[in-house]
């Protein structure tokens, strides 16, 4: 049962990370963020105490809400400026999936991770978020990609330590990344005397 939940989480994370590469709709970005953090929760809940895992889940969802509220506050024409080439993105994502598949067993061995799903999901999130960071300089994409990067890191880090402070500080960092992203989205529209 646990194995199938973990597998489901990996598939969720992979699909959500991939879906965001194919569209420029901000709603998909926020939704994928929520799905990614749900997947992260399913993967870290077996290794961390439930309260700590829920902290990360709530922080991730809250981050999505913060970014979503900021995009809603923007004038319509500035909400997204992305230009996509889905074919290129598809090829790049496939290359990253292949790299992840070859690297995941090595990472699992090096860090002594308990489950292969952790390294697989963690590396997928990190790899695809790096791709998004490289492709699109829009503040929304940057902050969403950084959040995905942190989500991937959390999956790997959770099996290395179970310190409460680490979980709390990670949740804080996730929220601060969302706040920084929200600020970057809204700052050009703010008055200089704010």
């Amino acid at each position: 049962m646990l194995e199938s939940i973990k597998l489901l989480a990996v598939i969720l994370v992979a699909l959500a990370s991939f879906g965001v590469l194919l569209t420029k709709d901000w709603r998909v970005t926020i939704l994928s963020l929520a799905i990614q953090f749900s997947g992260v929760f399913l993967l870290i809940a077996p290794v961390w105490p439930l309260a700590m895992a829920i902290t990360i889940l709530i922080a991730g969802w809250l981050a999505g809400v913060i970014l979503g509220m900021s995009v809603i506050s923007l004038p319509r024409q500035t909400a997204s400026t992305r230009r996509l080439n889905p074919f290129f993105n598809l090829l790049a994502a496939l290359l990253i999936y292949l790299t992840v598949l070859s690297l995941a067993p090595q990472l699992q061995k090096l860090l002594a991770l308990t489950a292969p799903e952790q390294s697989l999901a963690g590396l997928t999130l990190i790899g695809l978020s790096l791709l998004r960071l490289a492709l699109d300089p829009h503040p929304l994409t940057t902050s969403a990609a950084l959040l995905a990067l942190l989500a991937g890191f959390t999956v790997i880090f959770a099996s290395l330590t179970a310190t409460q402070f680490a979980a709390g500080a990670l949740a804080m960092v996730i929220l601060c990344v969302a706040l920084a992203g929200s600020y970057l989205l809204l700052a050009p529209q703010m008055e200089e005397s704010a």
């Binding site: 090096l110 860090l111 002594a112 990190i126 790096l130 960071l133 300089p137 503040p139 940057t142 950084l146 990067l149 942190l150 890191f153 790997i156 880090f157 290395l160 330590t161 310190t163 409460q164 402070f165 680490a166 709390g168 500080a169 990670l170 804080m172 960092v173 601060c176 990344v177 706040l179 920084a180 600020y183 970057l184 700052a187 050009p188 703010m190 008055e191 200089e192 005397s193 704010a194």
Partner: protein, 500 residues
């Protein structure tokens, strides 16, 4: 002892005498103060003045108050001795500010107080001081946290706090800030995972190849955060796109704090048997950064971006100073060079940035062509720019020379080729300074300073005063290094001693 210190003692004594904690004084209090100061942000002068006063008071307390040692005050006969406890457990981590960390705390708060003092003159914005004070609190928490690797998470919080400094309200978001956030976040994740990997490898007697891989991973994490070439691109971008004073503050404080963290890592993993290789790598990277920073500085036409290359060169010099010893230990005298570099380097960057801000207020563009002939209209700012560049290059009789001389001597004694590269890098920065001097003094028909313009002082009184004090400090430290440099150099020894 300063007045603020007495007030805290009295409050503590009234509360039973045992409840005062070092974390409360140097982490929680400045953190709360930064929030309160933020609420005052409409009154900009009050914000900067209050922030500077608090930072300097905390620096004075760090200088004078012993931690973990009874301190009899004898305000009345039955008054118990005050004891500041060094530790505070929090969510499974332990924050410990030992007495040996007091010099580091003094430097952190002195630096923040010093930079807050110039923030108003530099028009750094109303967010500068609250964020500066919060950064000081987080840097103190970084020094205190055990296990040390969790400090990477706090460094990431510092990075995220900087966002409003680099992207002020009402201005478009530039790429430099996004790249800065990306590299720092990536670096934080790599450091945390690599540290765990390194600890596992060290404990489990794994093969040497695994140990090497772990060290490379740790090195990669620090390279991303510091930043080390080739991850440095955000630094000149950021320095060229934002207020030079804010950029200089972060480009100085963040790498210095991270270098200190790296210093802790080096001490921790000295016994792994791979230390000589790490120090050799640090030396080579440091020398290359000093050289390439200087080389880029020669060809850079934008004075803001030039600040980024100066910062890269200073980081290189820090790495060189850290690598002087084959085995890291805080008590080794050569480690003193690292600490001796901190103050002159900070002074140089602050005066350079303040001078740049002064010039920027009249003309927003900061290329060499745009500032042509500005020495006639802004002689003090022009002098500040040139002298700070010369000082940072290590010109004799200026502030950085004693530390640079010590570094070059130690390098050429043991590694002549790297010493030559370091001297060459500084020479390149000197040439960049001569280029700036030439641009500032040449007449130009394109700018507001055509030929035959009369010399006059156009700087604001406060700007002129602060740059003037900075210029005097360059010569004072350079001409009498025996007053200040030994104290800074001794910090390396003090750090290993519980009661300096």
């Amino acid at each position: 002892m300063c007045r603020a210190g007495r007030l805290i003692f009295i409050a503590c004594a009234a509360d039973g005498g045992e409840r005062l904690n070092a974390i409360l004084i140097w982490v929680i209090f400045p953190g709360l103060a930064s929030i309160l100061i933020y609420l005052l942000r409409r009154r900009e002068i009050a914000v900067h003045f209050t922030g500077m006063t608090i930072a300097l008071a905390l620096a004075a307390l760090a200088w004078r108050l012993p931690i973990g040692k009874p301190l009899p005050l004898h305000l009345w006969t039955t008054m118990p001795a005050i004891n500041i406890s060094p530790s505070l457990p929090f969510l499974g981590a332990i924050f410990t500010l030992e007495n040996s960390l007091r010099p580091a705390l003094t430097i952190v708060y002195l630096t923040v107080g010093f930079w807050c003092g110039g923030a108003y003159a530099a028009r750094a914005g109303r967010y500068f001081t609250p964020i500066g004070l919060a950064i000081a609190a987080l840097v103190s928490a970084c020094l205190a946290i055990r296990p040390n690797s969790l400090a990477a998470l706090l460094i990431e919080l510092i990075v995220l706090l900087c966002t409003p400094l680099f992207s002020p309200p009402g201005q478009p978001v530039r790429r430099g800030i996004q790249r800065f956030l990306t590299f720092q976040t990536l670096g934080m994740t790599v450091i945390l995972v690599a540290d765990y990997f390194l600890a596992t490898v060290s404990l489990q007697n794994r093969p040497m190849s695994d140990l090497r891989l772990a060290m490379v991973a740790v090195g990669l994490g620090f390279a991303l955060v510091l930043p080390v070439i080739p991850f440095h691109s955000w630094m000149p971008m950021l320095a060229g796109e934002t207020n030079p004073y804010s950029a200089a503050f972060i480009c100085y404080l963040l790498p210095s704090s991270v270098a200190f963290l790296l210093f802790g890592f080096l001490i921790r993993y000295t016994g792994t048997g791979i230390a000589p290789e790490i120090f050799a790598a640090l030396r080579t990277i440091g020398a290359l950064m000093v050289l390439s920073g200087g080389l880029w500085a020669i060809f850079e036409n934008h004075l803001g971006r030039l600040l980024g290359f100066i910062a890269i060169q200073q980081i290189g010099a820090n790495l060189l100073a850290l690598s002087l010893n084959e085995n890291a230990s805080p008590s080794l005298p050569l480690m003193g060079v690292f600490f001796a570099q901190l103050l002159p380097s900070g002074l140089g960057m602050a005066v350079y940035a303040l001078s740049l801000c002064t010039l920027q207020q009249r003309q927003s563009l900061l290329t060499l062509d745009d500032i042509a002939g500005r020495a006639r209209s802004h002689p003090i700012a022009a002098a500040g720019l040139v002298v700070s560049l010369f000082s940072l290059a290590g010109l004799p009789l200026l502030a950085s020379f004693p530390a640079c001389y010590a570094l070059w001597s130690a390098l050429t004694h043991s590694y002549p080729s790297l010493g030559l590269l370091a001297v060459l890098g500084s020479t390149f920065l000197l040439i960049a300074g001569v280029r700036v001097l030439s641009a500032l003094t040449r007449a130009s028909k394109l700018t507001s300073c055509p030929p035959n313009t009369a010399w006059n002082i156009s700087e604001h009184r406060l700007q002129g005063l602060l740059i003037g004090i900075g210029l005097a400090a360059f010569f004072a430290i350079g001409l009498s290094p025996q007053i200040l440099i030994p104290y800074l150099a001794d910090m390396a020894v003090l750090l290993s001693n519980p009661f300096p």
